[in-house]
Symmetry: C2
Subunit: 341 residues, 2 copies
Amino acid sequence: MSAQITDVAKLAGVSISTVSRVISNNGYPVKPAVREKVLAAAKELNYVPNISAKTLRQQKRNGIALIVRSISDPYFNNIERGVTEAAFKNGLIASVFTSMQDTEFEMKYYSVILEQQYAGVIIGGGAYGGSKTNKRLKNIVRQLQNQGCKVIALAPQGFDVPTISVDNEDVGFKATKQLISLGHSQIAYIGGYPDHLVDVGRFNGYQKALQEAGIDYNPLIVKMSEYSIQGGYDNCKALLEQKGEFSAVYCSNDHIAYGVKQCLRDNGIRVPKDISIMGTGGFYDDVGFFFDANLSTIKFPFYSLGERAVNMIVSDEKLENDYKEIMATEVILKKTTAKKG
Amino acid sequence: MSAQITDVAKLAGVSISTVSRVISNNGYPVKPAVREKVLAAAKELNYVPNISAKTLRQQKRNGIALIVRSISDPYFNNIERGVTEAAFKNGLIASVFTSMQDTEFEMKYYSVILEQQYAGVIIGGGAYGGSKTNKRLKNIVRQLQNQGCKVIALAPQGFDVPTISVDNEDVGFKATKQLISLGHSQIAYIGGYPDHLVDVGRFNGYQKALQEAGIDYNPLIVKMSEYSIQGGYDNCKALLEQKGEFSAVYCSNDHIAYGVKQCLRDNGIRVPKDISIMGTGGFYDDVGFFFDANLSTIKFPFYSLGERAVNMIVSDEKLENDYKEIMATEVILKKTTAKKG
DNA sequence: TTGTAGGCGTTATCAT
DNA sequence: ATGATAACGCCTACAA
């Protein structure tokens, strides 16, 4: 249908090898005059190399897949940017796939990624599933690895894959400690899925910080449901209704924190004067169309996380499945935290 | 590296043609017993067909690209779902590319899409550029079309491409008329980029509705800047400070409307009791982690828009560049509109 | 510095 | 119903 390398060669009056060498620009010596001729011919014919043929011949993989939970969850915003930009720098092309938190979808994606011979897949936000679904996922992930596709997770997945992530226990610990250092001792915890590994880690950190400060753990002011604004709102409301005493809340995710903030506001409670809130993630600040939530939070290095994952895929270091890499987080204090007054 | 068709053939004791027929499952008759043997062999070897070879041989395109402005803009949430799910149903695979409102990025994407021989590209949200960048975009889009890649826009782009969209003038008209029918006559307009075709349409509709109702157009209560919550907030604040009189606001986008809502609230103005707000799009309701904004709005058929675009790409009807298709919108009344009191 | 030719893993055509 | 073989478009030894 469209022009191919032979057409360009014919028009330029050279062999296809010469054209190939000019087009792929691989450093192989070609006389400048010839190069010009080839380029001119290619331009005239609107020649575009066929990447299937190239891939097939080179046995090289050139795609990076990023799996996210939902395309519009701001949590993934900077992860995606890091992945996309790093991929480009390495001559690869990143595509985003949305799992919708649905294992069926995720499985389908993996099988496509398998066929498409991607260089790697970055699991930014996989489906949330129990141990049965995990087994199926684990299987297909192993298959991907067998095919030479590198798999990198950006959070613990419940089975061994090379993982780059934050230290979730440390995150929970730092956040809670921050609240303690502001004089709070009645600190509620509102988390996401109770059996999500990520949440378990943050919750452990929360408990550890309390313990270290000699504060008794009070299960009455602990709530968990899901990582959403609504979840935060509802759980906060429940806390208020049961009249649990607390002057601060640690939320294991900024969506939750934002919901809590709204709930408190709707109930005439001043933030941070009456109650302080610490969130987790820091992703609200990165999204332009969001109103700045001004959350005090533990900021994750989302961009770097994505960037690093791509670089690991690109490099030829062999990755063991038990490989774990931790990236640093940062305490950010904005307008939802204050000294206990 | 990994198993290929010859390996499967050898293990199953048949020819590669037979394997191909079984694997591609193309209806060609194969004896059941043989089929079983092949399937077993393929499974044992973890055989996965190489899609590059397949694509090369079949000259078939199997990718759909969706260009969005930002991965986390909820505006694209249901468009993406529609595209992804429709693509799957048609045996295609959709990838999302984020333009970041950056023409350079967008150009790079198009050139990759060109090489990758995508079946089609859906321009959900292109870069926002002036006429010079439009020229470059137009060129590469023409090139895509020449290569046999179908291009569909989901909003006017400033140059001719087959477009499926809502009728933006009608949208602005209906929204304004709705406010008028609630008894409002001093209706402010807060829009996005003043020279964005989409906004021009909505603004025209706004003016037309006023005119039809015999209301004088008042340029003092019209503001435009950008499609963001912050933009809505700031423009609303400016309106309040200049003491322009208005009892309702039509916002040409829900981000803006949400910002306006926040601004009014922060200034002690009750919505909708004191001031009514109509938004545009209805995308806040579709995103789980969002707190329901409860905006009265003109709801767009995002999912169908994406779905229809895919179906147009898949079908072999030839698309003229001046093809335009309009999809219906719906007035949704929630908690930001009330009769003028 | 340039050209020739073989092969990457499929599918499809043509025999059998 | 099955098998042999020639493409698909490109890259890359190897030859010149």
